[in-house]
């Protein structure tokens, strides 16, 4: 063994002897190069410094590992979430109404899984689980527990208490998974509007779906435009009437036409969203948005707005309705026979199909197409609700379709689309999508787009009011005196085997607005009631028309909700005509009123020319006559 060579530099040259000749020399070279000839103490000190350096490196490495451990645990970020076994993100915000009252809340719920291969005592497990979960069939449990492998979902929607009971059994093989439990404390109130969310926390329908993004952000409650008080009154009246008249389905809506907010929306039949599994699927349909109806005479609101706004006609333009209107392959009748020369305002209050059709033809198909487009009747209503249905329309405008659409035939729209278009006519002429989102304090309504002049809107409000006091809408006004209710009836005869089977199956509607006076900067409310196929009852004189069936419902609704909406009951000469008072005088005053609010100008009218039936202060007893006119 060679003695240590003189110190070499690390990269120093080998000793003089050729390296490959003498392996001892090679060894010496290696050994010499790896020690610098330090004294033992100096080497030890060098080693200490180096160990200290290694120690520092390790300290840094463990701190580094700790930082990344924290990052991996707390900020999983985009890495591979959502794979097998990843817990579902189930947290959803509460849904509240515009006043903060709870509509939907998250509950802590659990699903139970059993992995039979991990179960020790199968008989004891079977007994214990069956005792705590009596709803689970014993046969199913026994079947699961007889397996040797796998994972089986036993029950969901378990409350924390039930979960604790099961957990406290300390049975192996029982697993729990978080579930999205969603509770709807109001039961069937506004069920379709609120909608449903799935177990894994996704919105499926209604507002749960419409505002899914905001709800899943979980930044505090999501406020809907719904006013629970209004909703309760609306739904109560609609539900009671729906049962009373034995309808197929029914719809109710209340809208603030100034802001476009939907305050209430109901669809009958309804369901308990806490138990969707017990509900026939058809009950979950929100008919207010998802179903299209042939609306009938409520459409005359659109037709008259169109005619008046073009300036081609005014409310005193007289139409000959003496004889049926003969069109190619079609004859249009009036329900109310015996009228002959009607000014446009009486075409409205008598709901004359012939008059409306003639007006539409006079104004022209192009204008109808343009205006109805502007009112949004040819497209599905723009809405947060994905349920919003596409209308059924004729593919090509003909003289027949121009004439029949004027009184709401040969077109089917959703109640939501109808309400959106009517809001534009009643709010000063601005078309804006109706919203289920509550406008923030001081938040301006959506800008929308102007579809008719403000003056036209004013005249339409006057005509609605006139119809409310003296026309087919008076059953509504009678039941909500002093709230300045106006409205238009609609009785759409349903197509049965390709024929309009008069009087058998109807859609009875009423489109109400209140108050009809006041500026367009004030809140004004639109109320829609639709009863699909009401049964004829003696109390309505066997009539199933909008005036007989739906107008009183709307009246009761207004009477109930007006106080919530800050409306003050007023009395003046034409709010409530005294009994026996001559209606003609009232009519004259109404027309003066319309004129005073700057309707399109025209020759002054003599109300005596076209007297309205003097059946004043209509009562239930005289419903037959009133219903008869509501066509």
């Amino acid at each position: 063994m060679s003695v240590a060579q003189p110190p070499f530099d690390g990269a120093g040259s080998p000793p003089a002897t050729p390296a490959w000749r003498d392996w001892r020399a090679i060894l010496a070279a290696i050994e010499g190069a790896t020690s610098r000839g330090l004294a033992p103490g100096e080497v030890r000190e060098a080693s200490r410094v180096r160990i200290f350096f290694v120690m520092a490196l390790f300290a840094a490495a463990f701190v580094y590992a700790g930082i990344f451990a924290a990052k991996a645990a707390l900020l999983p970020g985009l890495e591979g979430r959502g794979g097998a076994g990843a817990p579902a993100e189930t947290v959803r915000s509460d849904l509240v109404d515009r006043n903060g009252r709870v509509l939907a809340v998250d509950l802590i719920r659990y699903g139970l899984y059993i992995r039979p291969q991990e179960v020790y005592d199968r008989a004891a497990t079977l007994d214990a689980v069956a005792r705590i979960l009596p709803g689970v069939p014993r046969a199913r449990l026994a079947n699961v527990l007889s397996r040797d492998k796998g994972e089986f979902y036993i029950a969901g929607d378990l409350s924390p208490e039930v979960r604790d009971q099961l957990h406290d059994l300390a049975l192996p093989g029982l697993y729990f998974q978080d579930e999205a439990g969603r509770a709807y404390p109001l039961g069937d109130t506004a069920a379709q509007v609120i909608g449903l969310a799935s177990r894994d926390g996704r919105g499926l329908s209604g507002a749960e779906r419409a505002f899914d993004g905001a709800i899943r952000k979980n930044n505090g409650p999501v406020a809907l435009s719904i006013d629970l008080r209004v909703q309760a009154a609306l739904q109560d009246e609609v539900d009671k009437a729906a049962v009373h008249f034995g309808v197929k389905d029914a719809v109710g809506m209340v809208v603030n036409v100034r802001t476009g907010e939907i305050l209430a929306m109901t669809s009958w039949p309804t369901f308990d969203p806490n138990h969707p599994e017990r509900t026939p699927p058809e009950n979950m349909v929100n008919h207010a948005a998802a179903t299209v109806y042939e609306p009938g005479s409520v459409f005359k609101v659109f037709t008259l707005a169109e005619g008046l706004d073009t300036g081609a006609v005014n409310i005193r333009t007289v139409f000959d309705v003496c004889s049926p209107l003969v069109l190619p392959g079609q004859i249009i009748h009036d329900y109310d026979k015996g009228d002959c020369a009607l000014p446009l305002w009486e075409v409205f209050t008598h709901s004359s199909n012939i008059g409306a059709a003639k007006m539409a033809i006079r104004v022209g198909g192009e204008a109808e197409d343009r205006y109805f487009h502007a009112f949004g009747l040819f497209n599905k209503a723009p809405s947060e609700l994905v349920e919003s249905a596409r209308p059924l329309t004729v593919s090509r405008m003909s003289i027949n379709s121009v004439a029949t659409m004027a009184f709401g035939q040969s077109i089917s729209v959703s109640p939501l689309a109808l309400a959106t278009g009517m809001s534009a006519i009643l709010n000063g002429g601005i078309y804006r999508p109706l919203t289920l989102r509550k406008l923030g304090p001081g938040e301006a309504p959506a800008p929308g787009r102007r579809v008719i002049q403000e003056s036209t809107s004013r005249v339409m409000l006057g005509l609605m009011r006139l119809n409310g006091t003296n026309g087919t809408g008076r059953f509504a006004d009678d039941l909500a005196p002093g709230y300045m209710v106006g409205g238009k009836t609609g009785t759409a005869t349903k197509l049965v085997n390709g024929h309009y089977d008069l009087g058998k199956k109807n859609l009875a509607s009423f489109a109400a607005v209140f108050p009809t006076d006041g500026g367009f900067d004030q809140d004004r409310y639109f109320v829609l009631v639709m009863m699909d196929e009401p049964k004829a009852l003696p109390e309505t004189g066997g009539f199933t028309t909008g005036g007989a069936v739906s107008a009183p419902i709307a009246g009761r609704i207004v009477e109930r909700i007006a106080p919530f909406l800050g409306q003050v009951r007023r009395t003046n000469v034409w709010d409530e005509p005294p009994k026996g008072r001559n209606k003609d005088i009232v009519d004259a005053q109404v027309l003066d009123h319309i004129q005073n609010v700057s309707g399109p100008s025209g020759p002054p009218i003599n109300p005596v020319i076209a007297p309205i039936s003097t059946q004043a202060s209509a009562t239930r007893a005289s419903a037959k006559g009133a219903g008869g006119r509501a066509r």
């Binding site: 063994m1 060679s2 003695v3 240590a4 530099d9 690390g10 990269a11 060894l27 010496a28 290696i30 050994e31 190069a33 790896t34 020690s35 610098r36 330090l38 033992p40 103490g41 080497v43 030890r44 000190e45 060098a46 080693s47 200490r48 410094v49 180096r50 160990i51 200290f52 290694v54 120690m55 390790f58 300290a59 490495a61 463990f62 590992a65 700790g66 990344f68 451990a69 924290a70 991996a72 645990a73 707390l74 999983p76 890495e79 591979g80 979430r81 794979g83 097998a84 076994g85 990843a86 817990p87 992995r115 291969q117 991990e118 994972e151 192996p172 697993y175």
Partner: protein, 388 residues
Amino acid sequence: MSQSQHAFQRTDRSRLGLWWWTTDHWLLGATAVLVVLGVILQFGTSPAAAVRLGLSSPFHFAVRQCVFAFGGVAILLFVSQLGPRGIRRVAVGVYLVSMAAMLTLPFVGHVAKGAGRWVDIAGFTLQPSEFMKPALIVLVAWMFSEGRKGEVPGTTIAFILYLAAVALLLVEPDVGQTILITAAFGAAFWVAGVPTTWILALGGVSAAGLTGVYFAFPHVSSRVHTFLHQDKSSGPTQVHAAAEAIAAGGLFGKGPGEGVMKLEIPDMHTDFAYSAAAEEYGLWFSLFLISLFAVLVIRGLYKAMRLADPFEQIAAAGLFVLVGLQAFINVAVNLALIPTKGMTLPFISYGGSSMLGMGLTLGMALALTRRRPGAYASEPLARAGDFA
């Protein structure tokens, strides 16, 4: 064993009493906690694997881990009572036996997961490389210190021992262990006082070797490829599952036994025990685990630093580097910081070889860092400014 402070009197001169009062209690404590935690965690995570493998008892692995833990502790207790000379003897013996076993591996080895690393002994499969590692480190430390005295070509012998080990590891192949012992060997070499240029050269050769390994072994290149191109669509890989488990655990975890990732992914009780623990016990526990290793390694290196004898100094430092590197690499794999390696988390992962090998490693490390007359020189630890 320390149920009361009177277990060992200061005046206790028995063998065990001496051992107790001379062994570093920080190191002993950290090791004991790790062993106990390793056993407890196995009872939570391994039943899923036992059931998946169709074993009759769900606690198959947990019970075996218990047995291994006793074995590891026994080895640790025995070895840590030895003196430096005894340690050297044990190292020589273990090195020779494990190298012999590794030589036979290509012929009798038990191939699993792309590598033949295991040898069957009496129903247990042992991985000889786990025992070879600490023995090698002690031997090269010995050789470095002897070489410095100039009587033995220590450096040459150390390199021969190292290269022989690497050669046998690459035959298996076991790239992870190769990297580990290379790093620990380099650390020991450097600590021994070699000029830094040598270390740089060694690093260069290692880098070249790694590149060669990447192209030579398909499973290595595929793992590196997987790591570099983490394809989200390619299904739940172990690394993805580990990330999900850690994220699902959050700060406080899902609770003991509540983890679900162990149900889906194999190896959650072995190489990915860290992730399984993080899922069930949360971040605070992960940090506690990391801190335990940090205490063990840093305290160990601190003790090594102060040792007087070069052999003890280099060997102790090398052994703690071995433990620390293995822990760090495993945690880094779990946190997806580096590509997957077949490497266990000391004491925590399930595995007999790992547990017994760690018992040997820390037994030797504790033995070398024990207080003995003259072990910690009276000369000043360091002059001011030395570490600046």
